[in-house]
Symmetry: C2
């Protein structure tokens, strides 16, 4: 299962992330094919040397030739694709994905997948506030985390292969987490923060304040510029975890509100000292 012997890579879904994978892997000499519903994305990638070959429909020949298939699709589209076309995938191929939630997808795909093909899930924790293959840029991987998300069904070889893929893509940190652990982590670190940023932006008509904004407000709301189609799906797919994290946050926020209301200066300072202490762990 050595990566070096898997030369033929197919990327299904050529948006920001799929395109960034293509760029990184093409540079390393792999043969890159792509499928995307938008012909214009395929054309752009071909013109810019990001892929060797590409189609806006499921071309049977390139699917059956692929040693590796990387799915950069929304979870439900990914599932339908596997249902409809998995018969074309060759024996011994390995498939992976870039989906931002895992429990809801990994088990199901592994369940329906035919024998002889292995699905090893992964989450490249990288993104930008822009979309589309035109904005693809594999430099976004450089300071980012790549998480391999195996289940009991995965082989050691596939896990190692997937870690190797993360390294080749240029990620700074590669780690391994189970699907449930992954979803709890992402619920707190990513989804909860997006809920907060959106709430801060929608809670009051604050446009007149734009002139006074300092860095703190700008930092907290950078991610309030959000792809509503993608993020509403991610929230709903991780609903139970996210609601739990939101409730924990609300309780804490209300506790701080009540300390302020009681004018409990020492209580507030205690919270701030804990906050400062914990934040130190998150400094780069």
């Amino acid at each position: 299962m050595d990566l070096i012997y898997r030369r033929e890579i197919l990327i299904v879904g050529l948006g920001l992330i799929g395109g960034s994978y293509a760029k990184a892997l093409k540079r390393l000499g792999f043969s890159i094919a792509a499928i995307d519903a938008k012909q214009s994305s395929i054309d752009y990638a071909l013109e810019n040397g990001m892929i060797d070959e590409g189609y806006s429909y499921v071309n049977e020949e390139i699917v059956s030739r692929a040693d590796v298939i990387i799915f950069a699709l929304y979870p439900d589209v990914f599932k339908s694709w596997i249902n409809d076309y998995q018969d074309l995938i060759k024996d011994g191929a390995v498939i992976t994905d870039v989906t931002g939630v895992k429990s809801c997808i990994v088990y199901e795909i592994q369940e329906i997948l035919k024998e002889g093909v292995e699905f090893i899930a992964a989450h490249p924790m990288a993104g930008r506030e822009v979309y589309g293959v035109e904005n693809a840029d594999d430099r976004i991987f450089r300071d980012a985390n790549y998480i391999v998300v195996p289940t009991e069904k995965n082989t050691k070889e596939a896990i190692e292969w997937c870690k190797e893929l993360g390294k080749l893509l240029g990620f700074a940190n590669i780690s391994v987490l189970g699907p449930e652990e992954h979803d709890r982590m992402i619920g707190f670190l990513s989804q909860l923060t997006h809920c907060i940023a959106v709430s801060l932006m929608t809670c009051s008509d604050n446009e007149h304040l734009a002139d006074y904004t300092g860095d703190s407000f700008r930092d907290l709301t950078r991610i309030a510029n959000i792809n509503d189609e993608m993020w509403s799906s991610l929230f709903l797919l991780n609903k139970d975890v996210l609601i739990k994290e939101m409730d924990v946050f609300i309780r804490e926020f209300e506790e701080i509100r009540n300390l302020l209301n009681k004018e409990d200066r020492e209580g507030l300072r205690e919270k701030m000292r804990l906050s400062t202490k914990r934040r130190a762990y998150f400094d780069k």
Copy 2:
């Protein structure tokens, strides 16, 4: 009241902000004196050419000589100072401050201040996560807002003088707001964001997640590294405004939680689209 004729500047309180004022104004050729309780801060500023003269006690001669006095002190210390030493201030002098909340201090200082001295309040919206004169750096003013906060008691001349001071310090934007408007603005843009960042850090024991943190969590919690003495005071001094803003935020956050709970995809997307639209106003 032209700034150019006010050559003798005294800075009371030589920390990060007082020190950064000293650096900027010294470079422009003003004569800078300073008073700070810590002799080590005075020594540092003298050794590094940030001030011409400095004392760790209230030196009567430099107070009475000053055309301008800039107070970079905590609000209650500022009030006591005025009570104790205002008799030393010369007739025709103008004083200003850097306090982060205004209603609770501006009226009171103007009330107790002797005739012949004018207090024009200002808020330099700049800071760093480090403290002390050793970290003073007037480059923090470059992209920042400087807000002049007059009351009905202020003269046009003092308001203009204070705007001019903001320009000389190097601020990108100078604006004028009344004390109440200022406090509402700061309650929302700055204090609420700090409450959120602290809550996110203290709501659960998240240290084990540090390895997986992406940019969004890091951005939202940068300000969770917080000076507990200063910020607890700022929160308490603006308590009513801040509690109101916290309640507005909680209501909105809970609304988003409930949309998620009901699996109202369209409702979530609506919030995200509003968020994205509003965020565009805040892009630099």
